[in-house]
Subunit: 345 residues, 2 copies
């Protein structure tokens, strides 16, 4: 079994730097389109065979060192009792946003085995089909990020309604976040029980918060998720990715995560100076730098590997998801180059 | 004359911390709507009496320590020969984006006095009407930010086409940036000659760049603008605002600006540790924190003032533009509170 990824998460010695790509099961792959064309996006998340098939594609095609469950961070929210729609242009829409105490009170904490069985079934299929080739990562959204979708009713430009609730009705905000946190604990515990070998918590919009607000309104809930999972005996590595979170690293350390994910806005050596040997780091090439010609991409990868030398452990990744316009051969060159250059070091 | 703002820009002693708000001439004010309803957005930018009227409104209504010219960073680009439209929903649109050498070659560097006379006339009216009450700030976009609009054809989600040009055709990118830089130098020099008493350069999208890319593809052009202006004898303070630029401060220092603007994602004391006494700082309350109840907003303002104690000079501001939903009385309370608390210090 290729357990390089898990070793790097734990800060153990590795023969080369493991690499995977956020959104690696995605629209840049023709093989993905072939499966995706048969379903709506949500249908595909709920069809274990299809979700498992696209999850494995980048393992075969790119040679990455980890697979990540194909799903969406919003999938469990639907089962909290809030209808969810995906529109081609607008993206996700919650037509009944959560903005008052009555709406929060109606939210329900789903029981994953009975209410989200397709996710757990996908994980079980994947563990069988991967058969130890690479580890499988499960995931969830972080409570702050999930809350923004419920409060705003979908994506947002400046998170006005979310911050308005934080600033003017912090008790309501807290009640909502606690409920989302409880949902996320059950969801991640069930994923680990079904076979996920690592868990990543995506805080996609954390970067819109000032450091003090992040400390008060976001990180305590992440900390509660991770500490509760560990208390319940979940031992798989946990990765916390606060997107655009360069200034939030000191607080992110308090999450208790084993690995912190980083976007490309911060130099890895600067991040190492903040986090020391407390956690491993994951990241952080600009996804669009996958367009660089070979010699330049190689130089960039070498630079990032150099920057990460002081880290407890390093998992190479992009700083955000791969975009649909990237030619798959560029992604394959990226993976090969990380492997080749890190073996030489 | 109230020159507190100019003194703080230069790092001279002040009796209290000066304050203004980005986008202070804006849609949160009913008085603004009364003027704006008579024109399209671009028409208003080109009508000196109207632009001057809304520029002065926040000086009268809020008691801020500086006025900033009402205009838009895209106004000079239109005169480079690229049609510009403002759509209510999509925002600015350039229907003929600049993506090849022929399009770059066709771009023209406008002569401000003849091709952008309305901007300079607005400045002259404002200097007369302000009559020394507060200084007048002129402004432009930074070349990288302006280039993104021309390349993408408007706003963008991930700046794919801009980065694609940077990564795969750096010579074309450089030629485009040089032309925009030349345009910006003439534009800012003309604003200073017409009477602008400070100049702010807005790099609204700098925060999408990795530090190394920012150093290579953005800051050299800002540096060239500022050094050329200073060589030409422009002595007014120059403020550089790289939005979402917490990790870009070391490079931003190289711009040669007198003041660096900061958004709310970075603590001011952390920023002071990076910039030392080389520049003054401007910022940085979260604009939506204007919704906080009085006691909490006061505590936040006090905290930001405390964080800024070590700075060479501090101009209080929001970390981004004020949003339309803010009640004007909250903005007035913000300005009064900055004045009151900083006088006590």
């Amino acid at each position: 079994m290729n357990d390089t990824f898990l070793k790097a998460c734990r800060g153990e010695a590795v023969d080369y730097t493991p690499v995977w790509l956020m959104r690696q099961a995605g629209r840049y792959l023709p093989e993905y389109h072939a499966v995706r064309s048969k379903y709506t996006f949500l249908e595909m998340c709920k069809t274990p065979e299809a979700a498992a098939e696209v999850t494995i594609q980048p393992v075969d095609i790119l040679g990455v060192d980890a697979a990540i469950l194909f799903s969406d961070i919003l999938v469990p929210l639907e089962k909290m009792g809030t209808p969810l729609e995906f529109h081609e242009k607008r993206g996700p829409v919650f037509p009944e946003p959560i903005r008052d105490q009555a709406a929060v009170a109606r939210l329900h904490v789903p029981e994953p085995e009975t209410e989200l069985p397709y996710v757990l079934e996908t994980i079980r299929i994947l563990r069988r089909e991967l058969a130890g080739r690479v580890p499988l990562i499960g995931f969830s959204g972080a409570p702050f990020t999930l809350a923004t979708y419920l409060i705003e009713g979908g994506s947002s430009k400046n998170y006005f309604l979310t911050k308005k609730m934080m600033y003017t009705d912090p008790a309501l905000y807290r009640d909502l976040l606690v409920k989302i946190t409880d949902c996320t604990i059950e969801y991640l515990a069930a994923q680990a029980a079904a076979g996920a070998q690592a868990l990543q918590i995506f805080d996609s919009w954390a970067g819109v918060l000032a450091p003090n607000d992040f400390a008060e309104f976001a990180i305590p809930y992440v900390k509660r998720i991770i500490s509760t999972l560990k208390e319940r005996g979940v031992t798989v590595p946990i990765i916390y990715f606060a997107n655009n979170g360069a200034t939030l690293l000191p607080q992110s350390l308090e999450s208790g995560a084993d690995v912190l994910g980083l976007d490309w806005r911060i130099r890895l050596d600067d991040a190492v100076r903040v986090v020391g040997q407390k956690v491993s780091l994951q990241g952080n090439m600009d996804p669009i730098a996958l367009l660089l010609p070979p010699a330049k991409m190689e130089a960039l990868i070498r630079d990032i590997l150099d920057q990460a030398r002081g880290a407890r452990g390093h998992i190479f990744n992009l700083g955000h998801g791969i975009v649909p316009e990237i030619p798959p051969e560029q992604a394959r060159f990226f993976v090969e180059t990380v492997h080749r250059l890190s073996k030489r070091q």
